[in-house]
C-alpha cells in the first residue's frame, strides 16, 4: 500500500482556561494519502476545524496538544521548532479558510499577498513572482489578472476572494491543502464554481485535499474518503460509498436521514437525531453519542468504544442495508 502523506496518530487537543482543562479533540488518528480528497464531516463543536488547525500549527495559545504525533513525509510536525514550521507552512501544507474577507489582509493589495507567499517559499525574484502570481490568478479564473493584482480585497466579491485564497494556497505548490468550510459563506452557484475549481487544481498539481464541511452533498461529490467526527472523536471512517450506502455508526446513519434531498419528493420524512450536539465543555462518559443514540445499551454509558475496523461503536448497525441501495 502507498505510504501516507500525513499520518496523525493519537492526537489530543486540550483547552485550558482558569485551571479547567477540557479535551476538545480526543485520541484522533487518521491518514491522508497523496493526491486524495479526504472529507471531515461533523457538526459544530466536533473538533473538525481544530484538528486541521493543528496540522498547520495554528492553534491559539489556550489550546495545547497533549499527546500524539503528526507525521508528514517522515517528519513529526509537532516536534518542529516554530521557525521550521513557519517555513513548511505554505510550502508543504497550505490552508483555505471559510471567510475570505477575514483571512485576506484588507490593507494590502491582492498582488502583494500572493507574491509574498511565492517569494518566501520559492525564492523567486520580484518580477518572476509577479508573473507567477498573474498566472495563478488566471488559473483560478480571475479575469483581467494584471489589473486585479493592484486591487484590494474589498474590490473583490466573495467568490472572487475565495479564488484569490486558492491562488495563495497553490502559490508554493504544496502537497496538501486543508480547506475549512471553503464555500459555506458562498451562494450555491458560486459554491459549485469554487469546488470544481479546487478539485481541478488539486488534481492538476497533484495535491491532496482535506475538505472540512458539514454539507453531505459536497462530500458525496468531491471526497474519496470520509471521516465522521462527533464530540472530538472520529466515530466512523470509510470510502464515500461505505459511509453513504453502508453506514455502521448510528450517528452517521442519523446524519444521513436528517438531511432533506433535492432529488426526493416532499413526502419523504426527515428523521432527525434526537437531542442537541454534544457540548465539548460538558463531560460525557462512555460513548459520547450515547445520550442521543437510538440503540442505547448500559455498556455505552460506562465504557468508551475503541476505534477499530474504521468504527467506534459497541453495537454498530449491521450491514444488511446493502440490498436497499
Amino acid at each position: 500500500m502507498e505510504r501516507p502523506l500525513l499520518e496523525i496518530s493519537n492526537l489530543s487537543i486540550v483547552h485550558s482556561a482558569e485551571g479547567v482543562e477540557t479535551t476538545l479533540v480526543d485520541d484522533l488518528s487518521y491518514s491522508v494519502f497523496p493526491g486524495e480528497t479526504l472529507a471531515i464531516v461533523g457538526e459544530s463543536g466536533s473538533g473538525k476545524s481544530l484538528s486541521s488547525l493543528a496540522i498547520m500549527g495554528l492553534l491559539s495559545h489556550e489550546l495545547r496538544i497533549t499527546e500524539g504525533s503528526m507525521n508528514f513525509e517522515g517528519v513529526d510536525l509537532l516536534t518542529l521548532p516554530d521557525e521550521e514550521m513557519r517555513q513548511r507552512r505554505g510550502r508543504d501544507v497550505s490552508m483555505v479558510f471559510q471567510e475570505p474577507m477575514t483571512s485576506l489582509n484588507p490593507v494590502r493589495n491582492i498582488g502583494s499577498q500572493i507574491t509574498e507567499s511565492i517569494q518566501e517559499n520559492l525564492g523567486l525574484s520580484r518580477t518572476e513572482a509577479r508573473n507567477r502570481a498573474i498566472d495563478l490568478l488566471k488559473e483560478v479564473g480571475v479575469a483581467d489578472a494584471d489589473r486585479r493584482m493592484r486591487q484590494y480585497p474589498h474590490h473583490f466579491s466573495g467568490g472572487m476572494r475565495q479564488r484569490v485564497m486558492i491562488a495563495i494556497a497553490l502559490a508554493a505548490e504544496p502537497k496538501l491543502i486543508v480547506a475549512d468550510e471553503p464555500t459555506t459563506a458562498l451562494d450555491v452557484t458560486i459554491q459549485a464554481q469554487i469546488l470544481d475549481l479546487m478539485a481541478r487544481v488539486c488534481a492538476d498539481h497533484g495535491a491532496a485535499l482535506i475538505l472540512i464541511t458539514h454539507n453531505l452533498g459536497i462530500v458525496a461529490r468531491y471526497a474519496n474518503r470520509v471521516n465522521v467526527m462527533y464530540a472530538g472523536r472520529i466515530v466512523e471512517t470509510g470510502t464515500a460509498e461505505d459511509i453513504y450506502y453502508r453506514p455502521r455508526h448510528h450517528y452517521t446513519k442519523g446524519l444521513l436521514s436528517s438531511i432533506p434531498r433535492l432529488d426526493q419528493s416532499r413526502e419523504h420524512l426527515l428523521r432527525p437525531i434526537w437531542g442537541n450536539p454534544a457540548d465539548p465543555f460538558v463531560p460525557i462518559s462512555g460513548c459520547r453519542f450515547h445520550p442521543r443514540c437510538p440503540a442505547l445499551h448500559p455498556k455505552c454509558k460506562s465504557e468508551r468504544p475503541l476505534f477499530s475496523d474504521q468504527l467506534a461503536c459497541h453495537f454498530p448497525l449491521l450491514i444488511k442495508e446493502k440490498v436497499e441501495c
Binding site: E43, S44, S157, G159, M160, D187, V188, T189, I190, Q191, A192, Q193, D196, H214, N215, L216, G217, I218, V219, A220, R221, Y222, A223, A240, E241, Y244, Y245, G254, L255, L256, S258, I259, P260, R261, L262, D263, Q264, S265, R266, H268, L270, R271, P272, I273, N276, P277, D279
Partner: protein, 329 residues
C-alpha cells in the same frame, strides 16, 4: 375562489444612494422590482435566490419593516402598504417573524419566559401569561425549565424553538421565516423543519419561507418562487419547479446543488453558471439574467421579459425557455 391571505402586487422597493457633502441622491438600488405573488391560506410559500436577490427585502416589506416604493400589499383583502401607527396594529397581530440567527434576535438580558411574556403583554393578553408561555413552550418542544433560562444557556436549536414560540405567541395567521434554519447544525435543522411542518398543520398557519438551501425549501414548501436580482423569474408548485424547471436560472440553481449520493454525484456532469450576480445598482439591460444565461437570444439584451400568467400556476419570466429541449430534466 377563496380570497388569498396575502397578495403582493407590482411591488418595488428601491433604496436611495446618497453621496457627497450635500448628500444628494445619486442612484437607486433596485432591491425588489415589480414583484407580484399570491399566498393562499394554509400553504407554505418558499422564496429562493442567491444573496442580494431581494428575498429578505421582500420579506421585510411584507412585515412592514421596510416601506414599499411602488405597488401594494394586500392582507385578506385589505391594503396594508401604507398603514401606520394604530392602523397597523391589527396587522402586526396577524403576522409574525422567525429570523435566521436566534442568538441575535433574542434579548440576551431576558429570560426566555419573559421574552415571550413581553410579546403577550404588548398585544394585550389577558389571563395567566406564565401558563400561556409554558403552553407555547410545550407546543415547540421545550420543557418548563426553559422559562428561567437566558438565551446563552441554550443551544442553537433550543434558541430557535424559543424564537418560534415567540412568533406563535400572538396567534398569527402568517409567519415569515427568514432563513429560519440556516444557522443550525444538520441534525438540529431536521428537528426544526419537522416542528415547523407540524405546527403549520396543527395551527393552520401560512408560511412565507425564505431560504437559500433549495433542498430544505423543496421539502417544506407547497409553492416556490425563484428570485434573481429583485425579480421573480419563476413561480410554481414545489414538485413541478424542482422536477421541471423552466427558467435557465432555476435550472442552474438546482444543478449546482450536490446530492448526498456519491455514485450519481461523481458521474453527474453539469456546467456551473458563469460569472456572478451583477450589482443591483447597475443591473443589465433587458433580461437581468442575460449576461450569465446559456440560452440568451438577441431579444434578451434589450427587452425585459414579463412573467407569464398561466392557468397551471407555473409562471416564468423568460423569452427563450421555450427553446430549451423539452425532455431535459
Amino acid at each position: 375562489m377563496k380570497q388569498p391571505i396575502l397578495r403582493i402586487e407590482d411591488l418595488s422597493v428601491r433604496y436611495p444612494v446618497y453621496k457627497g457633502f450635500l448628500q444628494r441622491q445619486v442612484a437607486q438600488i433596485k432591491a425588489v422590482e415589480k414583484v407580484t405573488l399570491t399566498l393562499k391560506r394554509g400553504e407554505a410559500f418558499g422564496l429562493v435566490g442567491e444573496s442580494g436577490c431581494g428575498k429578505t427585502t421582500l420579506a421585510r416589506t411584507v412585515l412592514r419593516l421596510v416601506n414599499a416604493t411602488e405597488g401594494s400589499i394586500w392582507f385578506e383583502g385589505e391594503n396594508i402598504t401604507n398603514l401606520d401607527g394604530a392602523a397597523l396594529a391589527p396587522y402586526r397581530k396577524r403576522v409574525a417573524a422567525v429570523f435566521q440567527d436566534p442568538f441575535s434576535s433574542l434579548n440576551p438580558r431576558m429570560r426566555a419566559g419573559n421574552i415571550i411574556a413581553e410579546v403577550l403583554g404588548v398585544h394585550g393578553f389577558e389571563g395567566d401569561a406564565k401558563c400561556r408561555v409554558i403552553e407555547l413552550f410545550d407546543l415547540c418542544g421545550l420543557s418548563e425549565r426553559f422559562f428561567d433560562l437566558y438565551p446563552h444557556q441554550m443551544s442553537g436549536g433550543q434558541r430557535q424553538r424559543v424564537g418560534i414560540a415567540r412568533a406563535l405567541a400572538i396567534e398569527p395567521d402568517l409567519i415569515v421565516c427568514d432563513e429560519a434554519v440556516s444557522a443550525l447544525d444538520v441534525s438540529i435543522q431536521a428537528q426544526i423543519i419537522n416542528l415547523l411542518e407540524e405546527l403549520r398543520v396543527r395551527l393552520n398557519l401560512t408560511y412565507l419561507f425564505i431560504g437559500h438551501d433549495l433542498s430544505i425549501v423543496r421539502h417544506l414548501c407547497d409553492r416556490v418562487a425563484v428570485m434573481y436580482l429583485g425579480r421573480v423569474v419563476e413561480v410554481a408548485n414545489s414538485e413541478e419547479l424542482f422536477s421541471k424547471p423552466q427558467h435557465p436560472y432555476t435550472r442552474a440553481l438546482i444543478e449546482a446543488v450536490p446530492n448526498p449520493d456519491p455514485k450519481s454525484e461523481v458521474t453527474r456532469e453539469f456546467v456551473a453558471l458563469n460569472g456572478e450576480v451583477p450589482s443591483p445598482l447597475n443591473p443589465p439591460t433587458g433580461c437581468v439574467f442575460h449576461p450569465r444565461c446559456p440560452i440568451a437570444i438577441n431579444k434578451c439584451c434589450s427587452l425585459e421579459p414579463t412573467i407569464t400568467n398561466s392557468q397551471s400556476g407555473h409562471d416564468v419570466a423568460c423569452h427563450a425557455f421555450t427553446l430549451l429541449p423539452k425532455d431535459e430534466k
